[in-house]
Amino acid sequence: MVKHAKPDLSVNIGSLVLKNPVMVASGTFGYAEEFNRLLDLKKLGAIVTKTITIKPRHGNLPPRTCETPAGMLNSIGLENPGIDNFIKIKLPFLEKLGIPIIVSIAAEDDPGEFYILVGQLDKISAVSAIELNISCPNMQKNILISQDARETSALVSAVRRLTKKCLITKLSPNVTSISDIALAAQDAGSDAVALINTLSGMSIDVHKCVPKIGSWVGGLSGPAIRPVAVKMVWEAYNKIKIPIIGMGGIMDTESALEFFIAGATAISVGTANFINPGASLEIISGLKKYMTDNDILNLSNITGKLKA
C-alpha cells in the first residue's frame, strides 16, 4: 500500500490563512464562551462572532425561536453588547484562543455605522477579518442592503477604503439573483462572500392565531434550507472569482462536502452547533478522512468540482 501524504486542509480567504476551512457561523456560537467545555475551540478554522452593532441592542421580543420541519426560525434581532463592550469583555477570551477571529458587524439605522465600526476594528490586531452582515432579516427593514446590487456595491466600496483587513460580505438568499449581488460585492472589493444568511420565514400557532415568534417574521436555518444554499453557492461560484464561504444546513461531513463541491472555499457551521456542539470538529476530521480516502492532497482540488 502506498503511504498517503497528509491532506492539506488550509485555505486562504483574501489575506487570511485558515489552518482548516471550518468556521462557526455568526450568531450560532455567541462569543465562543458557551462552547468552551463542549469542544476544543482551538481546533476550529475560525470563529465568526455574533453580529455587533455600535450601541448595545436588547434584541427582539420573545419568543425568538421555533422549530420547523428540519429547520428553525429565529428572530434574535441582533442582541449584542455593542462594540465597546464586545472589545472590553468578549474579545480577550477570543483572542486567547489563538485562532482567527472574524467580527461580524451590522448597522442599525444608517449604513454610515459600518464606517465607524470598521474604523474601530481596523486598529485591533486580534481581529483577523470583518464580516459585513448586510443580510440580517431580523431588523424590521423593508429592504436589506444585500437585496440590492447597487447598495451592496456602494457599502462595500466605502468600507473597503477604510481597512486592509480581510473583508467578507454576508449575503441574503432572499433575492432574485444571488450571483448579481455576489458580483457587486466582489467588484466593490470584498475579499470573500459568505452565503447564505437565513431565508425569510414565518410559522403560525393555529390554535391561537398568532405567529410562533414575537417578531412575526424570522430567519429560517438548518438542513431544510441546504438545497437552496448549495444552489446559491454553485450559482455564485460560476460568476465570481473571490472565495465563497458556504453555509446553510451543514450538519456533518457529507453536507459540508456538498458546499465545497458546489464551489465553497470554506464553510460555516450554524444551527448544527445548537444540536451537536461537536459538529464542526467532526467535520474537520471527516474532511481529512474524505481527502485521504480519495487521494486529495489539497482542499482546493474539491472546490467547484461538480461534474455531470
Binding site: R64, E79, G222, N276
Partner: protein
C-alpha cells in the same frame, strides 16, 4: 460544573400513568454534578425531524442514575417514550442554574418552605425537596384532575407535607393550586408565614405565585420554561424580561427570583 455532551445508556423508560413517563439513564458525571433545578437537553432521535434537542428537568439522581419524568405532548416526547432500555441517549447536561437554598437557616425550618408545583412542575421540585428535606417543606401540588397529580408519594417519603388541588375537585382542594396557596397562607398567618416559596409549572401559574409571594413579602424562586434552540446560552433565543434586561432562561435561569422577573 460545565455541561458535557455524551451518549448515555437508557436504564429504564416506563409509563407512570396518563401520558406521564419516567426515564432513567446512566451517567456518573451528570449524576454527580447535577443540582436541583438544573436540566438536560436530549436529542430524541438521530434524524432531522424533530431537529432540536428537548429540555427536561433533572428529577433526581441515585448513584450514577439520572432520573427524569416527562409528559408526552408532541412528537419529540412521543419519540422519547419509544426509546428502549439499552438504547443510547444523546444528552447535554447538567444545564442552567439550580435553585438557591443556602439561605435556608441551618436549624430545623419546619414548614417555613413551600413548594408549589403545577402539572409537570413537580419534576425538579422532587429533586429540590430531597436536598432540603431536613426543613420538611410543605408541597402544594396542582393538577387538572386526580389522575394527573404526580409524585405525591415521593414527596411524602421525603417527609414533606403534601396538599393537592385539582381543578375538578377529584382530589384534595377543588380549584387552582394558586388559590390553595392563598388559603394556605391565610391559615398559617398565626403560626408564622413561610419564608421561601419555590415553584415550577405553567407560565400563568408562575405569574400568580410570584404575585402572591410579592403581596405577602415572601421570597420566591421560579423555574421557567421557554422555547430553547440550544439550551446552553449560545443562541439568545430563550430570553425572558427581567429588571436587568433580557436574560437567557437556559443559562441565567431556568430559576429566577420573583423579584427580578418582569411579567
Amino acid at each position: 460544573m460545565e455541561a458535557v455532551q455524551l451518549k448515555a445508556k437508557i436504564i429504564s423508560n416506563k409509563k407512570l400513568k396518563c401520558n406521564y413517563w419516567h426515564l432513567e439513564f446512566d451517567s456518573g458525571i451528570i449524576a454527580k454534578n447535577a443540582l436541583a433545578g438544573q436540566f438536560i437537553e436530549i436529542k430524541v432521535n438521530n434524524g432531522m425531524d424533530p431537529l432540536l434537542r428537548r429540555p427536561i428537568s433533572i428529577h433526581g439522581v441515585s448513584g450514577t442514575k439520572v432520573k427524569l419524568i416527562y409528559e408526552v405532548i408532541g412528537r419529540g416526547t412521543q419519540i422519547l417514550s419509544e426509546r428502549k432500555p439499552g438504547d443510547s441517549l444523546d444528552v447535554i447536561g447538567p444545564l442552567g442554574n439550580g435553585f438557591e437554598y443556602n439561605q435556608l437557616t441551618k436549624k430545623l425550618d419546619n414548614r417555613k418552605t413551600v413548594l408549589v408545583a403545577g402539572g409537570m412542575g413537580v419534576a425538579p421540585l422532587v429533586f429540590l425537596a430531597e436536598k432540603i428535606k431536613f426543613h420538611r417543606p410543605v408541597v402544594l401540588i396542582g393538577a387538572r384532575k386526580k389522575e394527573q397529580v404526580l409524585c405525591s408519594q415521593e414527596f411524602k417519603a421525603l417527609g414533606c407535607k403534601v396538599v393537592t388541588a385539582t381543578d375538578d375537585g377529584s382530589l384534595g382542594f377543588k380549584g387552582r393550586v394558586t388559590d390553595l396557596l392563598k388559603e394556605f397562607l391565610l391559615e398559617n398567618q398565626k403560626t408564622g408565614k413561610p419564608e421561601n416559596i419555590y415553584t415550577c409549572g405553567p407560565q400563568p401559574m408562575l405569574k400568580t405565585v410570584a404575585q402572591i409571594s410579592h403581596e405577602n413579602n415572601i421570597a420566591s424562586q421560579l423555574s421557567l420554561e421557554t422555547h430553547m434552540a440550544c439550551g446552553f446560552g449560545a443562541c439568545l433565543g430563550c430570553v425572558v424580561s427581567t429588571k436587568s434586561g433580557y436574560k437567557r432562561v437556559c443559562k441565567d435561569g431556568p430559576v429566577f427570583t420573583g423579584k427580578e422577573l418582569i411579567w
